[in-house]
Each structure stands twice: as C-alpha cells, then as structure tokens.
Amino acid sequence: MNFSPQSAISVDQIMSDVILELNDDDHKLFTPGYYVSQIQQALEELSLDTFLNEYYSDYKFPSETLSIEMPKGAFNIRTVYVFSGGCCNVETATQCHFKRGYITNGANNGYTARNKIDALDPFISPYHYDNEVYYFSLQNGNVLLSSKCIGFENVRLVYNGVITNIGDVPIIPLPFRQAVKEYVLERCYRILKGRNPKYYRPLWMDTYQTLTTPFDGTWDKALSRARSVDSKELEDYKEYFMKMNY
C-alpha cells in the first residue's frame, strides 16, 4: 500500500482525538510534548514492524575512509549503489553487494573478512576475483565500501527508516491513523493506571485490547495494510509469474 503525503494526518488531529478521550483538554494529565513524543514512538514502532518507509540518500564517495555513517532514522539498508556524475545526471552506476565480515580502516589499509583472496583458511575457498567486485558491509552503523569502488564519485544508500526523525514534527500516514491513536491512548492509560488503578485500569485494558487484538486490533490492521501490495504491482507480478516456463 502506498499513500500520498498530502493525505497524511497531522499531529494536531491525533492529539485532538486523544485529549478528548482522556478528558485532558487543559493538559492537566500530560504535556502536549508528551503526546507528540508518543506519536513519534508509535510511528517508530510501525516503521520497524512494517518496513513501510523507504528512503534514499546520496553521499560524496569517501575515497579515504571508505566509510559512510548510516543516515539518522535508518534501520535497514536495502541497496547500495556507487555512481559517477551528479544526482541529476547519473552516468555510470553499479550496485554493491554485501560482503560478510568485511572490515577496513580506509583506502590502502587493507581489510579483513572471512572470505579473502589471500586467506590461509583451508575451509574457505577464496574468491579469485575478490578485488574485482564492488561490495560493502555494515559495521556499527557505518557502511564500509570496498576499495574497488574508488573512482566513483557518489554513493547512494537505499534504506528503510523511521517515518519521522526524532525532533521533527511527526507526520502520520493515513493508514496508521487509528493505530497511532490507540497506541498513544494505551501509553497514557498505562501511566494513569499507576496513579489511579481503580478508575484507569479498566480503561487501559479496553484500549490495550483494541490495540493488540490479533487480526482485528488496530495495530494488526495497520501492519496488514502496510504490507499489502498495490493492485497494479500485484497484477503485474501475477502476469510475470504466469509467463514463466516452469
């Protein structure tokens, strides 16, 4: 499923619903910032569960360090490209493949990896074209590129990230509206039941159930919506698969 950013829900719309349900128009229970923080956390959880949001970022090729720090909010690298030319006139581009255990301190510093051309390991047959391919690895939030990539001007990372970076004003995708609302309510009731269990615990239980019930809960509905494929995409996949000569 995809959605237009123009149909995104604002924080105020979610807060309006939530504070009405909590009877907190005067913000005597929670500060406005707390609600925004919870909305952000709901979006983080949804992003991590659904991999819905895919972003890309371009960097100048780090020809000395061969290392790029993963962008803020990124949690899953999908593809790494190196290319020449600018972002508006890409000339030569190639994909980098993942190499397990590849670690380097920069250009001309060599590297270690489980599979290396000069490895003296009787259990692993090294690639003989080890230095001929473009590859990368991930170490502690850094993307480490192989020395073969030197010569390209830019690197493009394609990754899944959280919908809104921490500190920004969150923007809520339309399919997630109910899930985000229930998530914030559940978090608020969870705190309130510590203050007044007799009154708030039943409310928290109702909200928790509405949020987490399998299949019919708002959270599961949000996940299934996010994972559903667009109709055109689905039709085309069927078309391709039907024409395969099994």
Binding site: D26, H27, K28, T31, G33, Y34, V36, S37, I166
Partner: protein, 245 residues
C-alpha cells in the same frame, strides 16, 4: 439576567441579625466580611464540582516582565514572569489559573486563548521536561509555574512576548471592588447556603459572650462538684407508672 448583589445579600443578613440581636454591635461591613468567607467557600466548591464559565475571569493583556536582580525570596534574575492580576482560588495543580496563552500571530483573527497555551509545571517537575526533545520548553511549547503571586514563564526566554492572556478563577473580595451593587458572581442556588452560613456564624459569635458571664456557679472547686448522679424528685414515681397501651 441580574445576579444577586452584595448589597442585597448583606443587607438582608444585616437586617436579620439585627432583628435577633437588636442590641448587638454588628456593622454592615462585618456582615459583608462574613459573607465573603462563604461566597468564596461555595464558589470554590462549585468550581471543583462543575464546569461552568460563571466563575472564569479573563485578563487579556497581562504584561510579561523580567526580574533584573535576585531578591530573596522568590525573585530570580533573568526569569520572565507575570504578576497575577487578581487573587485566585488555590485549587489543586494551580487550578485557579485556568489558562495562560499568547498569540503567536500578529493580528490573528482567532481569540488569544487559541494561540500558544502555557502548560502548568513546577520547578521540580520541569527538570524532566528537558529530557525529552518534544517536551523541552520552547516558544511552541511553553510552560508556567507559580511561586506565590509570581507566575514564571518557561520557553519564551528567547522571544519577545509583551502580553499574555490569562483566564483565572478569581476570589470574591467586596472590599477591593468597593461597589456593593456589583453582581455577586455565584450560582443563585448557592445564595441560600451563604445566607445560612452567615447567620450561623453570627449566632455563634453572639453566643460567645454568654460564656464570660458570672452565673454564680463555682466551677473551680472540684470538691463541690457532685460525685453521684443527680436524680429528680419525681423519678421514682415516673418509673412506677405503667406504660400506656
């Protein structure tokens, strides 16, 4: 619709008390003062139990000030604050301050209270706010805390806010108003309770002097205090009398 005025209430009370204690020296202002106690008591009770605009007072242009020097106690240099324009009911969580807001749009059509609203905090609770990027005091997310009559403002240190709009649950003070014909802003159904309470306090105060009268009884010598139960002369006869069916 006209509400009861303090002149009507206090005048009626004064007349009633003078009828009962005609030689008592009860001044009109004394009755007004007693009425003040109970008007505030019942108004506060109403504020806590019902949601009514009857008790709200709006002050649209309360100037924001800044202390220029530390003065012990409660005046801290460099902190922005407002002086509460009137005395307020001291409710839980500073509930006497219904709202404080400022308009962040010059000449905005919307009312002032729809602008940025200050959220209530305390000096100790405010520390946690700085731990969360979304809750840090800022012009978009301002806070206030009350210290006696000063209300400090957090989050607008870096911007120039000249005035704020304040909604308060103010107390009733007939002596500062100096207008006996001003309407008494309280639920008319509560007037009876005020009336009864003032009569009660008046009656109580009028009875106190009787304790200071010399009635001729000696209560200081414990030996003269009867040690046995005092029985009436007809007690025995009353006990023998059969109960009527």
């Amino acid at each position: 619709m006209a509400y009861t005025t303090i002149r009507i209430l206090a005048g009626d009370l004064h007349k009633s008390l003078k009828q009962t204690f005609d030689d008592a020296d009860i001044s009109f202002s004394q009755v007004v003062h007693w009425a003040q106690f109970f008007v505030n008591k019942y108004v506060q009770r109403s504020i806590q139990s019902i949601d009514s605009g009857l008790y709200l007072s709006i002050f649209p242009d309360v100037p924001v000030q800044e202390f220029v020097a530390n003065v012990q106690p409660n005046e801290v240099k460099g902190r922005k604050y407002i002086l509460l324009p009137d005395s307020i009911h001291d409710l839980d969580d500073d509930g006497g301050i219904k709202y404080i807001s400022y308009s962040d749009k010059e000449g905005a059509c919307a009312p002032g209270f729809t602008g940025k609203r200050f959220t209530r905090t305390t000096p100790t609770k405010a520390r946690r706010l700085y731990m969360n990027v979304y809750e840090v005091p800022s012009p978009q997310n301002p806070y206030f805390y009350r210290v006696r009559n000063n209300t400090y403002l957090l989050g607008i240190e870096e911007i120039n806010v000249k005035y704020v709009e304040v909604g308060l649950y103010t107390t009733f003070d007939p002596f500062s108003a100096c207008d006996l014909d001003a309407e008494l802003w309280m639920d008319e159904a509560q007037i009876a309770y005020v009336f009864k309470s003032v009569v009660d306090i008046g009656r109580f105060i009028m009875l106190i002097p009787s304790d200071t009268l010399n009635e001729g009884s000696n209560t200081e010598n414990a030996a003269e205090t009867p040690s046995q139960r005092l029985v009436g002369l007809n007690a025995e006869a009353n006990q023998e009398q059969p109960q009527s069916e």
